[in-house]
């Protein structure tokens, strides 16, 4: 009996070891056993928390559907992912735009990476080789090495996270448009704030752009100042004082970048030139650890809150949170309270420009009752009346909405659905 037991134990260890060693070389992450969520960095942590289970409210909250867990994939990490058992390996969608493109490609069989789906200047990875893009205007069809262009990711993505109202330009449409096969569901309200390197924060506050004067330093810049900086200006005159400022812009495809460009009215071409010339730096969004000297970067307020409350991995570094000055925000701090118990500042989030709703995108047919593709489970996941992904109730510890609140998201002001066309050329 004793001998038998020993043998059994050894066998278990052996199996475990074999599985581990195989997994580490073939597949870096677990796959989803139901729906796959990709896209925005901004809301990846809160969505990961909901999909993977979190006890941040005190209760264990996990959004599952019909006995199955979700798979939410980070915007960054290993360069490529496999999302389903037996699925293909494809580039990890980094940000709202790429998430949206991946969802688009997932909807139509035959859509491939060569269909200009991943119009990213940063990478496309297959087989362990990281290919870095160089110029704007790049397309995967021409840039990618032969043999890895035609990646068919049909059915590999179900939900795209987005921090942007319209993550890919010129895709928004109306419900009656037969080409509008993607629907947008409100998720939560975020705001774009600014992360200042400590030196710059002190300089800006000293120059008088401080909404928290006397009690600390909450630096702010005007929209005009931001536009100038991100179009290549290196100094700004603040109340008579010249302050050196360098903009740091999130990577292409970032919803935060897209929104920031829209909110400030910055010229995409001038920004691109400034990036090329090194006047404006590029970094992964919501990572303030590398901000130094006179740098300032757009920062999701909700991410800042989640990081400060340790709900998210803390990448706030030593940066100082500040704000964009508008007639509504008046430069007030986007957040209230100290780290650990930080909450959104409704006064800042309410700004119609700098406050922004975040969204989930899904294929319209799959959430439309009566359609042949209707999937009641997917529809339930994005039904705001259920305690699932779209829930915004903050009344109880078991609610997904309560989790969102602790991750710095308020209830979205947009409640209507939006209708969008897929983001690739030649859509059916």
């Amino acid at each position: 009996m004793k001998v038998k037991k020993l043998v059994a134990t050894v066998a278990v260890f052996g199996a475990g070891f074999a599985a581990f060693s195989t997994g580490s070389t073939v597949q870096a992450e677990p796959v989803s056993n139901s729906y796959v969520v990709v896209g925005s960095d901004t809301i990846e942590d809160v969505l990961n928390a909901l999909a993977n289970g979190t006890a941040i409210t005190g209760s264990t909250v996990r959004v599952t559907q019909n006995g199955a867990t979700l798979g939410s994939f980070d915007a960054t990490g290993s360069p490529s992912i496999i999302t389903r058992p037996g699925g293909v390996r494809f580039s990890r969608p980094n940000g709202s735009g790429e998430g949206y493109r991946a969802l688009s490609a997932s909807i139509y069989e035959g859509a491939t990476a060569s269909n200009n789906l991943f119009n990213s200047s940063t990478y496309q990875v297959i087989g362990g080789t990281n290919v870095t893009g160089t110029t704007a205007g790049y397309t995967s069809a021409t840039y990618l090495p032969a043999g890895i262009r035609n990646i068919n990711i049909y059915g590999q993505v179900d939900i795209a996270r987005s921090s942007s109202l319209s993550p890919v330009s010129s895709t928004e449409s109306v419900s009656t448009d037969p080409l509008a096969t993607i629907v947008r569901v409100p998720f939560g309200r975020d705001a774009i704030a600014l992360a200042f390197a400590p030196t710059l924060a002190s300089a800006v506050c000293a120059a008088g752009n401080d909404s928290d004067a006397g009690a600390g330093c909450t630096p702010y810049l005007t929209v005009a100042q931001l536009k100038a900086v991100f179009e290549g200006a290196t100094t700004q005159n603040i109340n008579g004082t010249d302050v050196a400022i360098q903009g740091v812009i999130p990577q292409t495809g970032s919803g935060t970048r897209k929104d920031f460009e829209t909110f400030t009215g910055v010229s995409t071409n001038l920004l691109g030139t400034a990036v090329t010339n090194g006047v404006v730096a590029v970094s992964q969004e919501h990572d303030a650890t590398a901000l130094t000297g006179n740098q300032v970067a757009p920062m999701s307020a909700s991410r800042w809150i989640a990081m400060s409350n340790k709900a998210s991995f803390d990448k706030s570094g030593s940066a100082i949170i500040g704000s964009a000055y508008t007639a509504t925000t008046l430069g007030v701090s986007p957040v209230l309270g100290a780290a650990g118990s930080m909450t959104p500042n409704p006064a800042y989030y309410a700004d119609t420009t700098w406050g922004r709703d975040t969204f989930l995108f899904v294929e319209k047919a799959r959430v439309t009752p009566g359609d042949v593709k209707y999937d009641a489970n997917l529809a339930a996941l994005v039904d705001p009346s259920l305690n699932k992904l779209a829930n915004v109730e903050t009344t109880g510890a078991s609610k997904a909405g309560k989790v969102k609140a602790l991750f710095g998201l308020l209830a979205p002001t947009t409640t209507a659905l939006g209708y969008f066309k897929p983001a690739y050329s030649g859509a059916k």
Binding site: T54, S59, T60, N66, N387, G396, S398
Partner: protein
């Protein structure tokens, strides 16, 4: 070295105190074996017992607050929500479905666990939905990386096959230990006579009895148990070990053993069967019986004379006796109810008689002889004595005493006295023939 041991003892004691204060009064064992009551709330945080398969449902230890915590034992290192058959409640490997659960930060407590069967993502919840049946649904507090269930809070649910809609049975505190086993006893060290010379199952003075408490199938680790041996159902002082040596005083008595299960502040006693009458020893049969009885104050009643409506004495046909027209009869039963149990005052009954009349003719009442009697068969009161009455017709005087009850005499069980009287009417020789009528008036007076 001795000092070290002492310190350790102190530490352990304070730890134990901490545990008892951490486990609040919430945990009252349930009749289905649950460690404590779990109340189910729907997505609007409204208490309910019926749910759709995928309906939102959270558990709470309170029937009025949806966010009351469930407290796991301090030794728990993990928790799960689970759906299982009753038999597999403590067997995680055989649960039908389950999902991982986190403690509230810094505690061993669970806040609003998601008990929706559809949220039990591991295992085969859909199998339960398909088959339907009776299951346990709740929270398990675990140790050993989830292998050992230390305690579980659960409701018994009845799942409708196919739809998966389910109803939870009402919560019910287990006050009688219905989920706990009954202890048994056995003679483990018999004395003379040898077992082969005994009647099967007999117990003799000097035998050693050993109790078996039979571990509870659910959460044995949660209970502390204590034995108590009993003689004829009465605890035997200081006999709380697992074994008991039958003593002389047990001769002709029956022995049994109790196990007291204590968990989460709830004590439940389970008793073994009794042994047969213990044989052997020097004890003799016999003894004294002490008595004690209560007395309720009686309420004093009333005194009442009861004469049937339209009562009429009956007489036979007249005959000539000693050259007188004479007729005899009886008055008929009259009843006296005396329920003055407390005062027992006694009473006197007398009779008066009117002259007999027939048209214009009259017979004087002195011609009526009236001799009262006590109808013993109907009378329970004691101390009732019939008077002599008027025995001689022609010289009778009225009113005349009929009967009396002695003061302080026992009224008997009912306080009823029934009286009658023998009547004789001897008409004067001069009286005209005819039918004469009269009345008797009875008067009852208390003494």
């Amino acid at each position: 070295m001795k000092k070290t041991t002492l310190n350790l003892g102190v530490v352990l004691a304070s730890a134990a105190l901490l545990v008892s204060s951490l486990v609040p009064a919430q945990a009252a064992y349930q009749s289905n074996g649950s460690f404590g009551a779990v109340h189910l709330y729907n997505g609007s945080y409204v208490l309910s017992n019926t749910f759709a398969w995928d309906g939102e449902v959270v558990g709470s230890s309170s029937a009025t607050e949806s966010d009351a915590l469930l407290t796991c034992p301090a030794t728990a290192t993990g928790a799960s929500t689970f759906l299982s058959t009753a038999a597999n409640t403590t067997v995680p490997g055989s649960w039908n479905a389950y999902a991982p659960l986190s403690f509230k930060a810094g505690t061993k407590q669970i806040l609003q666990p998601n008990l929706s069967p559809a949220a039990q993502v591991n295992g085969n919840a859909l199998g339960v939905k398909t088959s339907g049946g009776t299951f346990n649904l709740g929270v398990a507090c675990t140790s050993n990386s989830g292998v050992t269930v230390l305690a579980a809070f659960f409701r018994t649910i009845n799942v409708t096959a196919s739809t998966g809609a389910y109803t939870a049975a009402a919560t019910a505190t287990d006050s009688v230990g219905s989920s706990l086993p009954t202890p048994t006893w056995a003679v483990t060290t018999p004395v003379s006579p040898a077992p082969s010379d005994r009647a099967a199952g007999s117990v003799y003075v000097g035998d050693v009895l050993t109790a078996t408490k039979n571990e509870p199938t659910i959460f044995p680790g949660d209970y502390t148990t204590a034995f108590q041996w009993k003689r004829n159902g009465n605890a035997i002082a200081s006999q709380t070990a697992a074994t008991y040596t039958v003593v002389d005083a047990d001769g002709y008595a029956k022995i049994s053993v109790d196990v007291v299960y204590t968990a989460a502040g709830v004590n439940v006693t389970k008793s073994s069967t009794q042994t047969p009458m213990v044989l052997g020893g020097s004890a003799v049969l016999g003894g004294t019986v002490s008595m004690s009885a209560g007395v309720q104050a009686m309420q004093n009643g009333f005194l009442e004379l009861s004469i049937p409506a339209n009562a009429a004495a009956t007489f036979g046909s007249p005959t000539i006796v000693n050259n007188y027209s004479q007729t005899t009869g009886t008055l008929g039963n009259v009843q006296i109810n005396d329920t003055r149990w407390v005062t027992t005052d006694g009473w006197d009954l007398q009779a008066d008689v009117a002259n007999f009349v027939s048209g214009s003719n009259t017979i004087d009442k002195r011609n009526l002889a009236l001799v009262p009697t006590v109808v013993n068969a109907s009378t329970t009161a004691t101390g009732v004595v019939a008077a002599a009455g008027n025995a001689a017709a022609g010289s009778a005087t009225y009113p005349v005493a009929l009967a009396s009850a002695t003061k302080l005499a026992d009224l008997g069980d009912t306080g009823i006295t029934v009286l009658n009287a023998n009547l004789t009417l001897r008409a004067p020789r001069t009286a005209a023939a005819g039918t004469y009528t009269s009345t008797v008036t009875l008067t009852l007076a208390t003494k």
